[in-house]
């Protein structure tokens, strides 16, 4: 069913935009979709979309001569390397657009499509040694909104980085390196290093 979206003026919201050139402020949910958009300079390491397949990692190829548009099926664990350092899973599909341009690369990450979704979104970590997923937590965003997931994941990153025990793989005991959240303004020197690491 259509739910009326209101503009700041109080009237009905007809439409809105998300600019990959300017970059979106945060990753806001509006109507049916939570859309992040941004870009990287041509000299920066490109964002890498990874999907978890069993205990293996599937790298989705980056754009080269032309754009790519890749759907991440609901229920699939994925990460966008350099954008956020945790893995996430949503109960609705996600669409990843990676488009080359003259000055760099332009990106859109769009979650949504089904009514009242995303309703549950999870974060966790994948052991780089054995591929096991661990430390996962699921956030009910249906009532409180998508930002509650982003906030919970940021808190999860802080706890994860502060505790070697939390970063130890329950299967192979490999210690996961430090990681980073979605909000780059909260980076410390250590998490910035982690964000830039290849």
């Amino acid at each position: 069913m259509v739910s009326l979206q209101l503009a700041q003026s109080g009237g009905p919201l007809l439409s809105y935009t998300r600019s990959m050139v300017e970059g979106s402020a945060g990753w806001p949910l509006q109507g049916d979709y939570a859309i992040w958009s941004g870009n990287l300079d041509k000299n920066a390491s490109p964002y890498l979309l990874h999907e978890l397949v069993g205990q293996r990692v599937l790298p989705v190829p980056i754009s080269s001569g032309r754009a790519i548009l890749h759907p991440v099926t609901r229920g699939t664990w994925f990460e966008i390397r350099h954008l956020f350092g945790y893995w996430m899973r949503a109960d609705v599909d996600t669409v990843w657009l990676d488009a080359p341009g003259e000055n760099g690369r332009y990106y859109t990450l769009c979650i949504g499509g089904s009514e009242a979704r995303p309703g549950e979104v999870s974060y966790g970590w994948v052991c780089p040694n054995c591929g096991v997923l661990f430390g996962e937590a699921t956030i009910d965003v249906a009532a409180e909104g998508f930002q509650t997931f982003l906030n919970a994941a940021e808190d999860g990153v802080s706890r994860f980085n502060a505790d070697d025990g939390m970063r130890s793989c329950p299967q192979c005991k490999h210690v996961h390196p430090l990681t980073y959240g979605f909000d780059q303004t909260k980076d410390t020197d250590a998490t910035r290093q982690a964000r830039l690491a290849v």
Binding site: Q5, S15, R18, V57, S114, C130
Partner: protein, 216 residues
């Protein structure tokens, strides 16, 4: 960091159509194709001029000089299509693209429209993503008077129940029904006789609807 545990198979073995912007998949999305939670449409932007509509050999032709409009409380407003800027038309907003479909489309789902410029001489594309309708969610083709914006006529298709398979058949029938009765095109408020409607598919044009397509 994960290179030691990368899958051994190429991505094509895991996901058949992993990239929707390949020529193979674009062909499937010239109309609208439901995949998972969303419906996708991908349109190549033609370099043809308005007078040359019908020569690009595409099912749905987008020419560069087209303009996009929405209707709200303040009447008809033009909305831009800017490279690398997603434009999201909210559910319930009547919207029309000049020369592409000759009616105002109103759907019950938000519609994400992303202009993706081509590089290295490749064509520009428009990517359309919208939620997959379910239940009683409906698509509508509506016509408003071009002089006074009064609602003239509207046809509905309960896409959630009927499925996207019948969408284009309904769309063409709605266009033909509107065109068959001049009373539907004649504004009840100001008396203006509005132009003919036309389908999204250029191949369905008659000489008369082709002229209408070049007009609005």
């Amino acid at each position: 960091m994960y290179t030691n545990i990368y899958v051994d198979e190429p991505i094509e073995k895991i996901h058949d159509d992993w990239d929707f912007l390949t020529d193979k998949v674009i062909k499937k999305m010239q109309g609208f194709l439901p995949v998972g939670d969303n419906v996708y449409g991908i349109r190549q932007v033609a370099h043809a001029k308005r007078e040359e509509i019908g020569t690009a050999h595409q099912a749905i032709e987008l020419i560069k000089e087209r303009k996009n409009f929405e209707i709200g409380p303040k009447g008809i407003v033009q909305v831009p299509r800017i490279p690398y800027v997603a434009h999201i038309t909210c559910a319930g907003t009547p919207h029309h693209t000049q020369f592409v479909f000759g009616y105002w489309h109103i759907n019950d789902k938000d519609e994400v429209i992303i202009p993706v410029p081509g590089v290295n001489g490749d064509p520009d594309h428009i990517v359309i993503i919208m939620g997959r309708p379910t239940g009683e969610e409906t698509d509508r083709a509506a016509w408003y008077c071009e002089e006074c914006t009064s609602l003239l006529h509207m046809s509905e298709y309960v896409t959630g129940r009927e499925g996207f398979r019948g969408f284009w058949r309904w769309e063409l029938a709605a266009v033909r029904d509107y065109n068959a009765d001049i009373h539907k095109r004649t504004c009840w408020n100001c008396g203006h006789v509005n132009p003919l409607a036309y389908s999204g598919f250029v191949s369905t044009d008659t000489p008369e609807t082709r002229e209408a397509r070049k007009q609005w």
